[in-house]
Amino acid sequence: MSGRGRGRGGRGGNTGLFNREQLNAIGITSNESIPGPIREPPPLFPLLNRKPVPLQESLELDYLLILRQNILDQMQSSGAYLRMPQSSERLDKAQQEIDKLIAQLPSVKEKFDWNMLPAELRPKLIAKRMKMKESKAVDVNSRLNQLEKQEEKTEKAMDVTVKEEAEPDEEEEEIQENYEDEDMDDGTDYANNYFDNGEEYEDEDDNLDDGPIY
């Protein structure tokens, strides 16, 4: 059937996808009507030509289902499931109180190790605390260094071990000082949480005050 049409190509009828010659080559002859171009999107819920094979049920699959549901339930009740804060106008006072109480539960807030995360993600209060800790650490280090230097001066002996110990300390101090400088840097101040939409300023601070320090 397809053989007959060969060599008679080049006659009108163009779908826009293939020209007549190409169509001939892949076996569509001129005496077959070519459907016109489709100008509307396919239906949203097309009819299925065939019914899919029903799934086989087994004990193992049932157990997998239970596990799956279990995981989902636990994830949804854990602190990792974030909800949008509802606007305070829409809620009555009692609801707000309940929300505050819930927020204080240890399971509701997710705990983070802030050393694993970029500094800009720290909430304001924790960022402050961490900075304070760091500045203290610098004090101790520099103090130790000073003491060591004094010792060296008084002893006037080139003890190799003392030198080795002193070196990494100095480096550390430099790093931490650098870090502090960058914190002060105005160029990146959007990283430090100055933004406030004014809605829940008090709420957030309250929660953090009561939470543990990580």
Partner: protein, 495 residues
Amino acid sequence: MSLQQRNVIKLILVERFGNVIADVGDIIFQNPSSLYTIVKSADIPLSKVKEALSVLIKYNLATFKLNTDAITAIYSLNVKNILLMLRFPKFINLIKAKFDESYEILVEEILLKGCLTASELIIKVTKRLQEQKNVNILLQELKDNFNSLITAKYVMRLSLQSLKVDELFLLPNIDLKEILAVLNGGNDTLPDAGVYWTINSDRFHQDLRDQLIVNSVTNKFDENMGELMRLLLQQMYVRTDPWVSSSNPIPILEVKEIVKKRNTHPQLVAFFEQYVAILEQDVTGIIRKVGEASGGSFQVEMKHIFTQLTWEAVEEIVNEKFDSKASRIFRLVKSRHYIEPEQIQNLVMIPAKEVKRILYMLLEENFLVVNELKRSATSLGPSKSFTLFHIRLTQVIRTMIELCFKTLYNIMMRRCHEKYLNKRLIDKKHRVDTITHGMRAQGISGDSVLDIEEMITPPENEILERIGKMMKKLSLTEIEIDDTMFLLEMYLMYE
């Protein structure tokens, strides 16, 4: 990276972490971006965006790259790990089948938390076990279990700096006395703070892969052959890295001795040589003989196995999607590699017009490709060019993965929709259940409990049952599709 994938990922995140995180995830899926950009493009307060990013990073679903100032960073989504969340039930089941329940809970807690320090994990599991059964599980036992999970490489260290392979599986320093102190409400400084552990998905995939192979061999032959395959794989690991495409030779005598020693399958012992011969001579080519010495040694052809399995899957999908005539044509094209439409018409013995229809349907759905060979201008003859049909397996696989994503999306969307439609009823049922559960716990029974249970009317119960059935079906489909995706991923990995 495709629209379907994006949709699926968003729904996975919605189901497990809520809308806020899903929105943030969606933004960094499109483009790795900075905190500033995320806040700008999402209608979410800054504090929430920060929290969302922290959660994503903690669960190892997002990664960040610090800028030069060491404070700000660019965040991007870890797509692979998000899709892995669909496979979590299988991971837990695997551990349960291989070890026992306390291992299962250990793994489950790690999966639920994303990453944990060893001490935190042990504390959590102990608390949970105490709540569940009042069984006094020994802390020492839990510690040993955790250590054996690490040595078996199911669990590995999570770290920002890339560690060496040995360091990834270094045993942690767990101080049981400190843990006991914490459990009794003491201080909370633990010696291994800052050392986080997470699951090693590669190791789980390796086990799932072996399971898949053993299952398919069992289906094709019988139980005994499955056992033989399992032992072959087990012996393979003695000499071979887990992910090479064909293993080093395995002396068959070793396997035979194990079979004899275990003596669980008497038939396999009696007809061992025959079973090996059948497996070797089978068309699928699962194992290949490489040496005759000492009863023969064999290679397990991993890559070949997965190519075969994938072909089977593709053929089955064509069969289900376009019916048997189409799968006949598809198989013909597969066996001839390149074939002209006229030849197909002659060989499959289906009316020419239908052959054409099916061919172009397959072409349209990307299961076939057309290669056109132009003849040089000097040669004379009626036809100027050859048109050859051909299957490009990798392309077909990608099409199928897309299809899987689309189906997954449809299923999840449907589930969300059903939940949304019947939200009131589901909530009511939930509340009634909580109340009756609470009453039973207090020791109240009889009429008052029945009264509350009757607050859900029979027609409502009917609807609830229908929804439950539908949810179960949809979730089952989700699990099954993930199986298919796993097979396809394995193929692409070996490719």
